[in-house]
Symmetry: C2
Subunit: 198 residues, 2 copies
DNA sequence: TAGGGCATGTAATTCGTTACATGATTGC
DNA sequence: GCAATCATGTAACGAATTACATGCCCTA
């Protein structure tokens, strides 16, 4: 059900089309919850059928852009979800499995995987750092819309929470980079020792 | 396909029944890749049909414990997978979504979620620390079996990689705990300031 | 006029969860 | 005799990926 709540959350700030949501859930929202258009369009339809959102066609033409707006029912359902306890999903990390069983492969293969891991998370870290800068400097468009849509006394919370969330992602990425670097370092000393012994 | 490779990986160390695998993938292996019995049993059957594993019934009775053993085909397929490049799955974190939209809720609700987050990851961290201790002291049973099943010259790699993998999980958990604590601290100062202003 | 972005959908398949279901053995 | 654990399965459903499919509008 998380996609549903992610969509509702977005719609509490502004109304949007499926296309727009698809863009957001592939980019900024996507750093927290990724979703593709083939998942979003049917979900919006279901949500409309359940009265959580309403939609109307923009322009005069019969076919084309459909804009979704959250209803009071939708807001109520979203608020209910907000206070609900989290359930922490089980861990699933294919790369960890690989690493654990890589002990019979050439060290170069291990190094390849660790370097790719580090590079991947370094790229993410760069993006998060950039976004955090935009949040703090107030140039992030979605944040400005959120601030405008919410009562001014909650401005500090709005900004602070968005920053905290992104900060969390940045910390995660940094942790992965540092871990991979530690792994690469260990691998070097480990294989050097090994060759010295022969 | 990751469950398949996780199962194959386990079977490169020792043969096992579906039940045994279910236990392992709910515990130690489960820290990297969780799976339930309703997923494991059918997958083993499919893998047998594809020649990656073979099975035989233990004991004389017709029904009962079935032990699975990896085949050469299975080993080949697993080795092929080991060197393959990783693909990094999209991010999906329902708790982050919640946090970002929690700005209209009472600070107590935010604090509740952050505390639960910290506690959850602290519990994980305790488990990982304990397991790491067992790895380093050589009392971890699965590691001993792995060492016995692999050539002695790779002993350092076997132990080192398992420790590195767990160390990665521990780092992740520690990062989450620290992040949640930072969030709670910020929340306190933020809401104190707020009330002082009135 | 061809290619790219806008805009919306569906279908097939795979992956994972939850619930249902059964029977044997072991220890209190 | 009863409860727990061992041991194996299936069915229904939901979540997510990949591929297929269509049509508009703009601009190079």
């Amino acid at each position: 059900m998380s996609l549903r709540y992610a969509l509702l959350g977005f719609l509490t700030t502004e109304q949007a089309s499926g296309y727009r949501l698809t863009q957001e859930f592939g980019e900024s929202m996507g750093w927290f919850w990724y979703a593709s258009h083939s998942q979003i369009y049917p979900e919006l339809r279901r949500m409309e059928a359940e009265g959580l959102v309403t939609s109307e066609l923009d322009g005069d033409d019969g076919r084309g852009k459909r804009t979704y707006t959250i209803t009071d029912t939708g807001r109520g359902e979203f608020d209910r979800w907000l206070v609900e306890d989290a359930d922490y999903p089980p861990q699933r990390d294919a790369e960890r499995i690989r690493l654990v069983f890589l002990d019979q492969q050439h060290p170069d293969v291990i190094a390849k995987h660790l370097r790719a891991h580090r590079d991947h998370h370094q790229r993410l870290l760069d993006i998060y750092a950039d976004q955090l800068e935009q949040i703090r400097s107030g140039t992030f468009p979605r944040l400005r819309k959120r601030l405008a849509s919410q009562p001014p006394e909650s401005a500090e919370l709005v900004t602070g929470l968005k920053a905290l969330a992104l900060e969390g992602n940045a910390r995660r990425a940094r942790t992965e980079v540092e871990w991979a670097d530690q792994g690469l370092l260990w691998l070097t000393t480990c294989t050097t020792d090994e060759s010295r012994r022969h």
